[in-house]
Symmetry: D2
Subunit: 318 residues, 4 copies
Amino acid sequence: MNQFRGVIPPVVTPLTADHRLDVESYRRSIDRMIAAGVNGLFVLGSSSEVVFSTDERRREILAAAIEIAGGRVPVLAGCIDTETNRVIEHARAAREMGAAAIVATAPFYALGGVAEIERHFRLIHAAVPELPLFAYDIPVCVHTKLPNDLLIRLGRDGVLAGVKDSSNDDVAFRFLIGDNEENGHPLTLLTGQEVVVDGAYMAGADGSVPGLANVDPYGYVAMWNAYRNGDWDSVRKEQNKLAALMRIVLAPSGVQGFGSGVGAFKTAMALLGVFDTNQMPEPVLALHGDNVKAIADVLRACGFELARTVEQVDVSTE
Amino acid sequence: MNQFRGVIPPVVTPLTADHRLDVESYRRSIDRMIAAGVNGLFVLGSSSEVVFSTDERRREILAAAIEIAGGRVPVLAGCIDTETNRVIEHARAAREMGAAAIVATAPFYALGGVAEIERHFRLIHAAVPELPLFAYDIPVCVHTKLPNDLLIRLGRDGVLAGVKDSSNDDVAFRFLIGDNEENGHPLTLLTGQEVVVDGAYMAGADGSVPGLANVDPYGYVAMWNAYRNGDWDSVRKEQNKLAALMRIVLAPSGVQGFGSGVGAFKTAMALLGVFDTNQMPEPVLALHGDNVKAIADVLRACGFELARTVEQVDVSTE
Amino acid sequence: MNQFRGVIPPVVTPLTADHRLDVESYRRSIDRMIAAGVNGLFVLGSSSEVVFSTDERRREILAAAIEIAGGRVPVLAGCIDTETNRVIEHARAAREMGAAAIVATAPFYALGGVAEIERHFRLIHAAVPELPLFAYDIPVCVHTKLPNDLLIRLGRDGVLAGVKDSSNDDVAFRFLIGDNEENGHPLTLLTGQEVVVDGAYMAGADGSVPGLANVDPYGYVAMWNAYRNGDWDSVRKEQNKLAALMRIVLAPSGVQGFGSGVGAFKTAMALLGVFDTNQMPEPVLALHGDNVKAIADVLRACGFELARTVEQVDVSTE
Amino acid sequence: MNQFRGVIPPVVTPLTADHRLDVESYRRSIDRMIAAGVNGLFVLGSSSEVVFSTDERRREILAAAIEIAGGRVPVLAGCIDTETNRVIEHARAAREMGAAAIVATAPFYALGGVAEIERHFRLIHAAVPELPLFAYDIPVCVHTKLPNDLLIRLGRDGVLAGVKDSSNDDVAFRFLIGDNEENGHPLTLLTGQEVVVDGAYMAGADGSVPGLANVDPYGYVAMWNAYRNGDWDSVRKEQNKLAALMRIVLAPSGVQGFGSGVGAFKTAMALLGVFDTNQMPEPVLALHGDNVKAIADVLRACGFELARTVEQVDVSTE
């Protein structure tokens, strides 16, 4: 039985106004996702603000998630850093804290070729062989696309257990799924998409890692269950609702990248009463003013009831 | 009734060995696609080798297609050129030859901003108002992604009749479909994907423009009909078969871009007996040697019977 | 004697308010550049708005330049188009009109690999062997960087006579100059830079093709002469003055790319009384309002006397 | 007096065969550079393999450099990491160890807009106000180009003391130098170029940070001194010799990026007897086989005598 199938949200990290980890909000959010029926939690990925976090903060975030999950679902730990030796340090820490699997990207900042990427994953697996290793394919952040033949080779050799595909290249992902089938399914293939997860399920994905599942875990679990039942009309219906909700990330103006994406998730979760604040890690400012209002409007249009007013969430009105 | 829905293949242009238009092969291919049930033909798009063709050759390609189609299906004419005035010349020629619609990209080579792109489409429509105008969103060629709000604005203003989306950004495309619905569906939205068309149908696309439909029009028509009938299992099954067939474009080695993509289509069609040669426009060489064999292997693995041997198609063995 | 050394401005094309070629302004500008001592004229390059011009307009622009130049300096003709056969049509037309040399980029829109680029240049030279062929290396427009080893090979084989380097990669350019020396200087190497031409001369360039020389041909000629005399202090002094003048292209706000670059050149030339208007080709609008004023301010700060007021040039005040 | 002018090599880090810091080789190299007359040392930059190094290794590298330099020249410490809080940790460590200045890039991996970049530098300076802060503009690694107006604003506000420009955009750099002059020279502007440093000096740079100075510090010091004396012929002559030497980084085949660049520096230094090995940090392999020979050939062609044979350096022959 593959324990890493299904909906595995990349867990967004709540902060207090003064930038500490907000454990109570974290507990509310994780408990809510587990209650909704998610199949695992991916902690310390891009959405968890891993690259904004010091080593100490990373340990704090991962330890809290494992404690809160309490074995109800597996916790996958992102080990995101520039090059091999730094990644291995994170991987060893994750092993000691009890992560169920580790997740690593290709090297970044200093680039090389495919040979270095392959050696990178082999060295990580050799250093922490006890834990399944997932490759995190995220060219928008690391500026390298992992080639399908490399992934399959590492899967067949037992180096990789799976792939989290955040490449936004669904054509390559479908070919990867086909290659994986032909090779006996060595890899668990998870899509990082949010609004075209139905297409990834059509293609045969083993699960999804949607950041938006922090805001609405119920919808993604319902879509996964419909997929498992072959009920494509329901898959489509759920995806359409979630695509409408994803417009929260398009709503802010004057903000780009992480600040509008994860910023919108945090703001929605604050409006829904899951998080106490929508605070962001330095040097990113929390969404404020009209941007909070714009997100509230999307939530209401999607039928959500807000637990807090725009003014309560918008720190600029304090 | 919208006459531009369904499967509208971008028609590949057959050449003789000495680089003339091969009208007989063209007739065989177009008749075969119409017999399979395609809903229209897109001529002089990227796959038609439009940018390799002189003005005279463009007219020859378009005139032949319109003559062969003979009104059985509408013919959309690509008017692909660097900037507005040159595009308008092509658009007027297409109008005189009887095209049913025209298709234009954003300006390329010299780039500007969104204001210039908007003015570009408005000027084209003003010059040839009798013909529906489709925007062709193909950033891999023109290095600009058409923004959704621009497309919707031009649709509402009656400037654009539709969009051919070859952006490979299925997330943006799903948001575009949602925006289009909210605005009363002013645009006919066609995906240029080949292996994730099922996902585009899940998202609500009005049709598809898959280059691979030159090789297997029956599969794409079957997928479209299944989609119209809400038979998602058949949609998925057809797509999976076509995804396997699309591996002909991954099969060649040592060749990139147009030479491997359209080169693979032409080679497959020559092996299937639809085209007499797999000749390519200068400066691109026809696929030859092991690359022909690799494509033949994919075709056979997908259950196709070959009308010609590898040696008959491979010009390097002459 | 190499007739293509020295300062060879890419000639900006003046338009009337109603978008016709303004031959009188053209004559004033070309006569002024020749009087200043330029060594040649590059017509139908990017700055000549070649990709905005229909075939008929291209012929008009080139014929007028050759007529005005009257043999005083050689006229190089840009043959800029997407792929080989279209380029060859332009090259033959240039030959018939009496161009001294032709200039072609790598193929664009549909990309391939180095093999296609090499075949492209060889086919152009084979079709018009009477004229020296320059490669125009401009990745910002064609999205391919011409590799140094390809350029040297084509130079040694007599296919290329030279290179106009607009790659903004001065490191590669210096290596190219070194390679060219080692191979007996088969190529005439011209930099397309404007504000770091002194560095290109330090590296050993054979000349420059600066768009800004339309505005101030005297400065570039003075810098070239200083370089020929080994008077580096004067080279530097002239370059610093021209770098200050080049700020006209940074002055406009809300406009990008061709509209701000060539737009600024045209606006400066209208303010200086060389051009009658600063009209731009569709779909680009002429610079207007505060952007004209900003350019006038730079000109004055650089010591130029204006022949026309901002209001006279700014069409938005009409 | 500005203590950060002149030649400040980014110090390459020598490793033992088993990947420990090779302090004896480090001492030889740093002593050699100081003896040659360099004006400072930049430690823990890209060439120092900073992103390959754990926190412990970073401290080891910096402490050794400061100890070896012994106050003879200032040591600037790179504080290269993904986002603000991690950079601040490195900056505080550098302060405790006695660095003379700190150097930081824009945030990377998770991108935002200019507002976040500005806040990033302001927060770093606020956390370690005692040390001059240099911005490291290296878009090839961080995928953001620092805008000139931001740099000038941060310079005027006392946040930034200078810029190390590794953008390879010499046009922007020349404009930056002009802006800096107009604003009273708040920033010390250093070029990271190697083969067009003469052009940067023509433009008015305050110094250079060339990786190649690890291999030949004498040449870069001679060029700097010639520049200070206004002896442009000598500047040019030295640069041409160094450009020929820089071909060591083009010599390796089958290797890309950091592996060929810093790999070539280490291999050259091993051949010259400065380093004991050409070992590289994981996951990069040391250059070996024909690549070592190719570098030796360039060194000899440039007139260097080799202290070791190719076989002695090439670990693959062991």
